[in-house]
Amino acid sequence: MSLVEVADLRVEFGVASAPIVAVDGVDLTIEAGEVVGCVGESGSGKSVTALALMGLVEFPGRVRARRLAFAGRDLMGLSESEHRKLVGKEIAMIFQDPLASLNPCYTVAFQLTETLRIHGTDAERASAKLRRARALELLRQVEIPDAEARLAAFPHQLSGGMAQRVMIAMAIACNPKLLIADEPTTALDVTVQAQVLALLLRLQRERAMALLLITHDLAVVAETAQRVLVMYAGQVVETGPVPRIFDAPRHPYTQALLAALPEHNVGRTRLKAIRGVVPGALDRPRACLLHPRCEYALERCRMERPALEGAETREARCHFPLDPDGRPTRGWAPEGLPCRANG
């Protein structure tokens, strides 16, 4: 039994007759203690997937799934208060902008102990002194210097990196089994990014908690995750274990993303970009979602939606998955057009 089992998750907004599809048939499993990366452009449905898992998609959003389970318990059938109890204790989440994620009206100590007062152990719930000691210990665990003094600080007195550490401390306060980090380093500067990531991974290893790392930074995923999901326009287009998916991407989108990395463009005057934009609510193709932007798109790609295919751990949603040399397979032949050369 996996820690997280999501099958055919679908999240829609807007009116039922003309829905705006944010997440379209996402399957996701996370094993206990695993680090899973989730990458994709803005608007590809990464964050909404996480929110759906947390049960936080609000009206008018609609969530449907064949299965949505955490630690064997079906989340779809839970009442709101049961859901709240489960989610607050066993799943924790940290957000992109740490300063916005802390309540500006309360001190760090208050916000840390508040969680413990509700979800803590019996002893912690009873004793304020114990809670304070625990809060201090948590701040030390997230490597906040001079933790004692920071307890009395208000969020506006903290730097971004410091605030993100406090957020992490709050998230791990109840020893969650799963930590969802929604672009945890995007709002931080580069050196702090590295520190925060190292901290997240250390805590993940020490506590053997699962980590779902949502990001659009491929380098971050490459360094941290064991498995990665590449999302595009609400669909998973490719999944696979980490070194391999980067060495030999099977989906053209993954290939194009990798080709756009600055590291792969050394010596060029312009970065290689993916032309076009993510399809919006009105121009969502019925066939392969990538075909307007794909280098290899053929007639079939314009007519028929590909399924997520492949071996258990290595799947791609493409009619012509790429071979290890990065060329489309399965009888792909350019349609009269000159094949666009790579580069």
Binding site: V87, F95, M167, Q195, A198
Partner: protein, 303 residues
């Protein structure tokens, strides 16, 4: 990536001493001279109200039959016993004004307290729950706003019957839509913020989210509106008193003092001048104070 961890130990110097929120607030407030004036005036009025029994030279109800309509002490025919003169039945105007302070501040305090607490609850529900609940609450408030405030207050008093307490209720109802709208707007803005979401993820329930997470962040505009509402409550109470719908004689309420003395305005101008000035000074004091509070509490207006 891992070697970065070692460099963490630097930066161990203690956090610089930052002013507490109160010190910071006071510094911003004290920059505004008008606000300081308003604050001192309001403080003086508060002292007058509390110590009315000690300060006032006479009882507000005592009638000096031999000295009706005595002019103020500095005018010809004035009596040093009655600093600001006496009214048509010989009561000392100064004493009545001093006791009136008590009533006016009480009216302001109670009506603002009622409408503020009711407004916060309604506005919070409207802004947090949204949907048809919000529509129902906000449209009702729109209807109340569409009526001229004094007319609405008169209508409410007509239903409840005249009297000081009912006037307070009426004023509270008139002021209510402002607080509801203000709270709702602030709540909608705050409810979408990430800290609310992270609090929800941590398992906070609706009541906790509304009143413990969101509300403290919405207080600044409400404090300002409450101060400004204080002065309009006093003004409305005086208007109701003047129309005979608020405080009933012989209560020394400023509005009803004006009404009682109206027929003597040609002959004895002091009977209407001083209650009017008292209303003016009080309203001015609270408006200045409210403006100063707004400047000090609104980060957008800070330099």
């Amino acid at each position: 990536m891992i070697e970065v961890e070692e460099t963490l130990e630097i930066g161990l110097e203690p956090i610089p001493r930052v002013d507490g929120p109160l010190t910071e607030f006071w510094r911003a407030y004290a920059q505004n001279r008008g606000a300081l004036l308003g604050l001192s005036l309001a403080a003086a009025l508060l002292l007058l109200a509390i110590f009315a029994g000690v300060i006032a030279p006479h009882s507000p109800y005592e009638q000096f039959r031999e000295a009706t309509l005595t002019p103020p002490a500095w005018q010809a025919g004035g009596d040093p016993r009655f600093m600001l003169g006496t009214d048509p039945v010989g009561r000392d105007i100064l004493s009545r004004l001093i006791y009136g302070t008590r009533l006016s501040l009480l009216i302001g305090l109670i009506s603002v307290a009622i409408s503020l607490s009711l407004g916060i609850v309604l506005g919070m529900i409207a802004g947090y729950i949204r949907g048809w609940t919000e529509t129902a609450i906000m449209r009702l408030m729109d209807v109340m706003l569409a009526l001229p405030s004094l007319l609405l207050a008169i209508a409410v008093v007509a239903i409840l019957g005249p009297g000081l307490i009912n006037a307070m209720y009426a004023i509270a109802i008139v002021l209510l839509p402002h607080y509801v709208r203000l709270t709702r707007a602030a709540v909608i803005a705050e409810a979408g913020r990430e800290y609310v979401q992270s609090s929800r993820i941590a398992g906070a329930g609706a009541t906790r989210l509304m009143f413990s997470t969101i509300l403290p962040n919405c207080l600044a505009p409400l404090i300002v509106q409450a101060t400004l509402g204080f002065s309009s409550a006093i003004l409305d109470a005086a208007a109701l008193g003047f129309l005979g719908l608020g405080a009933q004689p012989p209560t020394p309420e400023w509005g009803s003092m004006l009404a009682d003395a109206l027929e003597f305005i040609q002959r004895a101008s002091w009977v209407v001048t001083f209650p009017g000035l008292a209303i003016l000074a009080t309203v001015l004091a609270f408006n200045l104070m409210g403006d100063g509070l707004r400047d000090a509490l609104d980060p957008k207006l800070k330099r």
